[in-house]
Symmetry: C2
Subunit: 137 residues, 2 copies
Amino acid sequence: MMLSKKTKYGLKALTYLASVDSKEPVQIAEIAKHENISQKFLESILLTLRRNGFLGSKKGKGGGYYLIKEPKDIVMTAVIRVLEGPIAMVPCVSLNFYEKCDDCPDEHECSVNKLMLQVRDSALKVYRNNTLADLIS
Amino acid sequence: MMLSKKTKYGLKALTYLASVDSKEPVQIAEIAKHENISQKFLESILLTLRRNGFLGSKKGKGGGYYLIKEPKDIVMTAVIRVLEGPIAMVPCVSLNFYEKCDDCPDEHECSVNKLMLQVRDSALKVYRNNTLADLIS
DNA sequence: TTAAAATCTATAAAAACGATAGGGTAATAG
DNA sequence: CTATTACCCTATCGTTTTTATAGATTTTAA
């Protein structure tokens, strides 16, 4: 139920890149230092963010990472799903990662399902309502 | 971010005990079988639920576990906190388990804090709004 | 009083996951 | 060419989760 450091660091990195606001590449080392993150760990995180269309990168001298979209167009639902995985706390209430439970013959009779469906909806509402721009101001 | 099986099984056990509705003790084996749970694992879960005032138990022949309160008086906030731990996804937004982040010089400037505070509030609202009775009907 | 039924307790094995580090490759600017 | 920087693969360490093992203790029925 804890937020992984991967997600935490990823969010912080995105925030930093958004605050810099120029489209100039920012080096991993600079982000890592400014946000107190293990550089190697951050490396892999930025890579997934790039592969999923949030960041662009440039190799070589003067290279680094940069936002590929406007902060106001980066919605938290997308970020969370890429970094953390499903928003739902049980697969049987997940929109994008649905899976039936092994136990539990009938979902509609399941108390866990009933409760976690509400939790998912409420979390979804928050994530949909927040863009990267909202987290900076 | 996933719900632990401990919590899932605990909720299912509580639901089962509430559905039986008599104050007669129900044996661990019966609950385990009905809900497809490893009996030994369930044993330890029921123990914590008893220690935290949700269940009573009776030893010996004809013994077992039973609800100690009315289902409508068992609020999910309490159950989740006992089984799963903090409701917040980062310690720095937790009401009952607050802890400052090592990194992050100022919480009020932190984008993660800002987002997760909203998530916590929305989850809390759901848990406060659901009792065991609500999950059965 | 005896035996059975059941909870209680502790421990630890096994598996999964998270976080981090190391080292090498590829691209780019000067 | 050379320095710099992103890219990528792999291994490791530590923690948590889940399950299993073994036995002690308490209660009840007969």
